[in-house]
Symmetry: D2
Subunit: 249 residues, 4 copies
Amino acid sequence: MKRIDLNCDMGESYGAWKMGDDAGVMPHISSANVACGFHGGDPATIRKTVQLAVDNDVAIGAHPSLPDIQGFGRRVMKISPQEMYDLVVYQAGAVEAFARAAGSKLHHIKCHGALYNMAANDEGLSDAMVRAAKDLGAMLYVLSKSKNYVIARKKRVPVCAEVFADRGYTDEGVLAPRDKPGGMIKDSAKAVKQALGMIEEGYVTSLSGKRVAVAADTLCIHGDQPGAVAFAKALRKAFKERKIEVAAP
Amino acid sequence: MKRIDLNCDMGESYGAWKMGDDAGVMPHISSANVACGFHGGDPATIRKTVQLAVDNDVAIGAHPSLPDIQGFGRRVMKISPQEMYDLVVYQAGAVEAFARAAGSKLHHIKCHGALYNMAANDEGLSDAMVRAAKDLGAMLYVLSKSKNYVIARKKRVPVCAEVFADRGYTDEGVLAPRDKPGGMIKDSAKAVKQALGMIEEGYVTSLSGKRVAVAADTLCIHGDQPGAVAFAKALRKAFKERKIEVAAP
Amino acid sequence: MKRIDLNCDMGESYGAWKMGDDAGVMPHISSANVACGFHGGDPATIRKTVQLAVDNDVAIGAHPSLPDIQGFGRRVMKISPQEMYDLVVYQAGAVEAFARAAGSKLHHIKCHGALYNMAANDEGLSDAMVRAAKDLGAMLYVLSKSKNYVIARKKRVPVCAEVFADRGYTDEGVLAPRDKPGGMIKDSAKAVKQALGMIEEGYVTSLSGKRVAVAADTLCIHGDQPGAVAFAKALRKAFKERKIEVAAP
Amino acid sequence: MKRIDLNCDMGESYGAWKMGDDAGVMPHISSANVACGFHGGDPATIRKTVQLAVDNDVAIGAHPSLPDIQGFGRRVMKISPQEMYDLVVYQAGAVEAFARAAGSKLHHIKCHGALYNMAANDEGLSDAMVRAAKDLGAMLYVLSKSKNYVIARKKRVPVCAEVFADRGYTDEGVLAPRDKPGGMIKDSAKAVKQALGMIEEGYVTSLSGKRVAVAADTLCIHGDQPGAVAFAKALRKAFKERKIEVAAP
């Protein structure tokens, strides 16, 4: 029986401002990446999001970011590997404390926004992130086929390769830019089909039509999209029909 | 043999700015209260401070604050008990992660500045702080004779009563305001004498000359004072002569 | 012909988070209080909000707050008069620069949230706020019948007394707490009626049924309420029928 | 008679943390670049620094930064030209308000740290910075021979070319990296000599020994260096002997 993890970024509200439909999405996923306060999330939001995850038997992950609340962690910032390590440990520790207080534990770490992409392509940053996960005993979720993935495997840190149902892929098996034609897959049926191909066969069809191998351990759902809940349900239905189990690794 | 804990606020540098002489003071204390980023401290500073504590066999505590970096956490802010809980869990978790990464653990929590005083005098805030410590399995350091102390005892959360060698006391056994005559004890010999009285006899002489009972589990040293290292050495010398053991609880 | 100013808090979105319907409300008001970045608002949001005000011939005001982005400036914080002065000058200056860059100018200052209420009831803070307005050559919007109002008049700084259509009043002519029965007026017709009474006769009926004198120079609309635009239209319609001119002072 | 402006970064203390010797350096310079709160500086520090400048007849400039208080504005961050514009207007406006409140005005804008270098080398960011200065009616201080300088001239915005006495230059007339051999000139006499050559002859000797033309309108002193005051005095003495007038442009 095939198996996949469904993960989603959660807890990105901030103070008086709301974002996403956490309560709507949570019942359909198996892993929650909880914002840690640096791009979204605040202590109260982390507590509530962690509790929501516990109530839905969803694995709790930390979703650390560059310190850029006004830019939502999406602006590339030149940081050193040591700064990467410190950012990840600090933020993951904050989420872990709420997880423990709620009777659960920290399951994984997935970097957010610019930090995610920076780590995927940079050896020094990848190495620092892997070291942080190792020191905290947490699993890593990283981009499939990234430097990050290779380094985590080499250092024997548990790691999940992440794929995207609603993003176009290059011939190298990495994400095409969002603004390229085909970069975003808005048709739900097409996205479900891409997900099934990646999970069942380990392949994705690139934007140029090439069949490219990908490792698919966890599939990302974008919770801030308007149709997030509907898309999650469509995925779950398709998985049920194909007897693909949904569970955190 | 009498025994006392010597604690000091540590890691209050921030970004490019330095504060205190952590490396100078650390060898003389048994407990470090590490700033968590809300009034001072940043991820890199926490990491370095925690390592310094590990190197000196000093117990690692979190020193959470109100979110007021510009006011150094010294400005009273009206927060709810739930906000207190969330602030403490978030900040303590961040420090704990660095402690674990360094092969150690979180030993205690001591609130900083306005938060320390607010918790000492308010039942709701005390209760929230006690709950946070319980959920994280950490000991509490609180003002001797405070509401905080009473509530921690009642809820059976391990707690240390804190006394001050260099501060004047009221007839009720709590701290006199800093700006009152005698509120600050600047004479080192006098401060050492007050410390010995509190530790050996469980009494302090109040500003009005009354003999007042205090519980003295841990003694605070102010690390940001110019003579902090010299004063720490003077205390240690006096303790050695009187055969008072210095150790974290 | 009677005349009233209609003011509304604007520009309270922050980074990736949206709040309020600024574009919907702006055409119906005469004064915009622009958030300055300390409780909401960021440089980009200030620029867009100022431009929207210019496009609608709306007077531009600064809406300074305590430095409490996570608490949306609603948590009381103990600050000194000097800190009040510095906070107001800094934030008002930031908004003024965008106003000048857009070919307009800073018209007024109205404090936000906890700062508004703190200034209303404290002589030292009022004095500092009046001094800041004087030094910047801006008019003040303050609570009708407040200490703030009295001090501004005494120091000969131009000041507008603010009243609320949708809030209950005490016998002393100040706002009843929101959570008191009648503290919030949710019936639109009732709120319009209260507004007309305050503008045309200078009186409001208190929650206990007493007729209390109020000065009504400017009327506040809450832009973050769901029915804000509809309520603004209802007010404008009633004003037109009664030949009450709407204009910034 | 030759003439030069001496500028120095000022007001970089933050909350409880001190940096630099502003009071010591201020009497020796003609232009102060005042930190605006994004890399250092807070409302109270800006007010005090502006007053110190007024008391010493020093021209007041804004010293805007990337929003990176923990990194002291030294970490490159990928921002758009529009974000550059907004950051500069916001921060310059805050300083200008304090200048006006002190009876003075905003004289110039000089970007800080990473923002300074980013603008020097990027046409879009330069253009945005020039537009911000134009909209606020302030002069620009930018790196001599930079894109920034060329664009400011083309857009007819008053601009000063900045040179450094204590930094090594490349054959292209721009700054050599600090960590290159010769990148930092620590010998005071050598630095004074380089300053005189740039001011009197318009040339600097590059690290490879080449004579390179530079425009020298304003000379930067690093106020956070231990010998800042002594170096400022040495410069002033040399200028006096050579009859070089020191004045803000």
